[in-house]
């Protein structure tokens, strides 16, 4: 079969049309791409391991922030997208995941982490590649000049602030003789330091600072000594499971009879897992508790969004940080009218916000979010429902002076 050669005119026309289309197409394509190109936020958190419950709450709340942003028009029509990765609570894995997010997925920003060690390793990778990182878990080290960079932001509380707030509440109330049972790692030491600094001003006396190995299962070896010291206050400077364990065993050894037990951080999820008996009578600090909604309208608004999206359940403290961490970054994108990390960082530095618990802003020298600290006490009776686990005792207002000074952290300039 032979093809009839096209007539010259029609072939010329099709050539012209084809050529025109080919010329315009890339431009159209680029336009389409530019309009559609999502703003990618990498979200490395420990989905497996000891803190997976908290991490999953972080993801849930962060998704709300992304959805809000997209539904209110995004940025120049561009939508945001959360790329969640499991860092297994392991700094080496966190570094690898962050490299993957930056190099392969080409994320614009990174928000995440749920431990001091992982956030520092994520930060190391991000700052070398000039990608903005907003950390949503506790660390003192990340404020220090050594780890800091223009791209490093810290949405969460730090041990110094949390411990200080709890000390300022508890020491005047319960007594001056204090014993610390401290997890022997950086976080534990930072908590003790925070307590002691605040305590100094209040005349508190450290009877002993007993260090236990991180992740110790059995605290019975330390409790007889604590018993014999007869302190007014026993501070359990540890976290998560360590806290549950040590609280339980302290109760077993009858310490609650004469001593008030306090913890720097009382997590909503840890309390749910540990149960009412272990935590009976224990008070501590936290960044957020849903029960604040009676007094704080922003909390109610945030809680309702979460309830609506997740069938009535309430957000935890870490969940709220996930929400705020992402929302701040996206707001800064709009303020800076750009997705370049440098410009967004500058916008973030100017940001004043109230996403869920009150006024907050990032301090200039170390990008630490200046915020309130909530003091809660665990409930074991009169609980209205399964969510009602804490009484809010006090809220220490946001105050820059409660943080360590810029000089102390090694920052040369506080621009």
């Amino acid at each position: 079969m032979t093809l009839k050669p096209p007539s010259f005119n029609s072939s010329r026309r099709s050539l012209l049309v084809g050529g025109a289309a080919a010329a315009v197409a890339p431009a159209l394509f680029n336009l389409a791409q530019a309009q559609g190109a999502t703003i990618k936020i990498g979200f490395p958190v420990p989905l497996t391991g000891a803190f997976s419950a908290e991490a999953q709450d972080q993801v849930r709340a962060a998704e709300i922030a992304v959805k809000e942003f997209n539904e209110s028009g995004g940025f120049n029509g561009r939508k945001a997208e959360l790329l969640v990765r499991d860092d297994k609570l392991n700094p080496g894995e966190a570094a690898t995941r962050t490299l993957e997010l930056i190099e392969k997925d080409k994320v614009d920003f990174v928000v995440g982490s749920l431990s001091a060690a992982t956030q520092l390793s994520i930060n190391a990778v991000c700052r070398d590649r000039k990608i903005l990182f907003n950390s949503i878990s506790q660390s003192d080290a990340i404020n220090e000049a050594k780890d800091w960079s223009l791209y490093t932001f810290h949405e969460a509380l730090n041990p110094h602030l949390t411990a200080g707030a709890v000390a300022r509440y508890a020491f005047p109330k319960f007594g001056k003789k204090v014993v610390y049972l401290t997890a022997d790692y950086a976080y534990g030491h930072e908590m003790v330091r925070g307590f002691q600094r605040a305590g100094q001003a209040l005349g508190a006396q450290t009877l002993a600072d007993i260090r236990h190995p991180l992740g110790a299962a059995d605290y019975s070896a330390f409790l007889p000594r604590i018993q014999s010291l007869k302190p007014d206050i026993l501070v359990l400077c540890n976290f998560g499971r360590d806290l549950v364990n040590s609280a339980k065993q302290a109760t077993d050894f009858g310490l609650k009879a004469n001593t008030k037990i306090i913890a720097p951080v009382l997590l909503y999820t840890a309390r749910q897992a540990g149960g009412p008996e272990a935590f009976e009578g224990i008070l501590g600090g936290t960044s957020y508790y849903w029960g604040m909604e009676d007094k704080i309208p922003a909390a109610k608004a945030f809680n309702d969004k979460f309830r609506k999206a997740y069938g009535g359940s309430v957000p935890s403290d870490y969940g709220a940080l996930g929400y705020a961490g992402v929302r701040s970054v996206l707001q800064a994108v709009r303020d800076a009218k750009s997705t370049e990390s440098l410009k967004v960082s500058i916008a973030l530095r100017q940001l004043r916000y109230n996403w869920y618990k009150g006024e907050q802003f990032y301090r200039k020298c170390d990008h630490q979010s200046v915020q309130s600290v909530v003091i809660v006490e665990s409930k074991s009776k009169n609980m209205k429902d399964k969510y009602d686990v804490f009484n809010v005792l006090a809220v220490e207002a946001a105050n820059e002076n409660n943080l360590r000074s810029c000089d102390e952290l090694g920052h040369k300039i506080s621009t």
């Binding site: 497996t48 297994k88 080496g92 490299l99 993957e100």
Partner: protein
């Protein structure tokens, strides 16, 4: 056609270093992202070092993470606290892990069999605690941060180390060197001695070989290679995490060697590819990656004790034999 395949296989077998290197050269094209390829390269090297001791000499150490960690930390400390250039950092890492190998090896060699495994575990734990406590040098629980190498300056060229593919090839250069060294060792009379020790230690003694010295030497060589892997890892991740020294990391080396094939040259790399890729893929599919990896591992122990590469190499050998072309 068949003859050319046979010729190729024979050539590959004779030039095993070159074959492995060729594979590793194109490896990044097969992996979803470059950071994973680099991890596999590094852990492959770690497994090669471990394999020298376990696969070829028959000594099951459960404390090899100590050398990965020491290499990493000393390289990191050189950069962070000393401000030394990248090549000095790598040398420090290797030298330090050699020294650690001498000390731990000297103590451990005095025991045999299961006690050897237990002693290496205990000594490695002590190293772990020592580095954990020395937090002004090592960062303790938070790990050592700030191992920043942005450019590799060589006479004539300046390489952007932050570029993942460039980073891969720089690290590849070191791995190639190490593999060449291992191959030379295995092909030497010394290589024959250590395999003799694996097969029957008493007979090796009876033949007049200084078995204790040979064991110590291979232990130190193994430590040096694992130390190099650790040093490279520090440069790759810009951090040295404390669990580089944990016994679960030692367990990883064992797993990689078994999955890949102990006592084979290429086996450890195959094991590293399988384990790391599997973990990466499975992590994205299910949260039960630990159980899945454990299951796969058990299947291998039961049905493919020679590992993937070991079994494959075996089959190839037998096929070649049938073609009348063995040895």
């Amino acid at each position: 056609m068949k003859n050319s395949i046979i010729a190729l296989l024979l050539l590959a077998r004779r030039q095993r270093v070159a074959t492995v290197l060729l594979f590793l050269l194109v490896f990044p094209l097969l992996m979803p992202y470059d950071a994973l390829s680099v991890n596999i390269l590094i852990f492959g090297l770690y497994a090669v070092g471990f394999n020298l001791l376990f696969g070829y000499t028959g000594m099951l150490s459960f404390g090899h993470a100590a050398f990965l960690g020491v290499g990493g930390y000393l390289a990191g400390i050189a950069v962070v606290h000393g401000g030394w250039p990248w090549w000095a950092a790598i040398v420090s890492g290797v030298v330090a892990s050699c020294l650690a190998g001498v000390v731990i090896g000297y103590l451990a060699i005095r025991t045999r069999g299961i006690y050897f495994s237990m002693v290496t575990l205990a000594l490695a734990q002590i190293v772990y605690y020592a580095f954990y406590k020395a937090d002004s040098w090592t960062g303790g629980e938070n790990g050592l941060r700030g191992v920043r190498v942005e450019r590799i300056e060589l006479p004539g060229i300046s390489i952007d180390f932050l570029n993942p593919l460039h980073k891969y090839y720089v690290i590849f250069a070191f791995v190639a060197l190490a593999l060449w060294v291992v191959s030379r060792i295995l092909n030497s009379p010394f290589g024959a001695v250590i395999e003799a020790i694996r097969e029957n230690e008493k007979r090796a003694v009876a033949c007049g070989y200084d078995v204790a010295r040979a064991k110590l030497l291979v232990f130190v060589l193994s430590a040096a290679i694992c130390g190099l892997a650790g040093a490279l890892r520090a440069l790759h991740l810009s951090i040295v995490p404390i669990d580089s020294l944990h016994y679960l990391q030692s367990g990883q080396a064992v797993m990689m060697c078994l999955l890949g094939g102990m006592g084979t040259f290429f086996g450890p790399f195959v094991g590293a590819v399988v384990l790391l890729y599997l973990e990466d893929v499975v992590t994205n599919l299910t949260r039960y990656w630990m159980g899945t990896v454990g299951l796969v591992f058990m299947v291998f122990v039961l049905f493919f004790p020679k590992g993937i590469w070991g079994t494959l190499a075996d089959r190839i050998e037998r096929w070649l034999g049938r073609q009348g072309r063995s040895a």
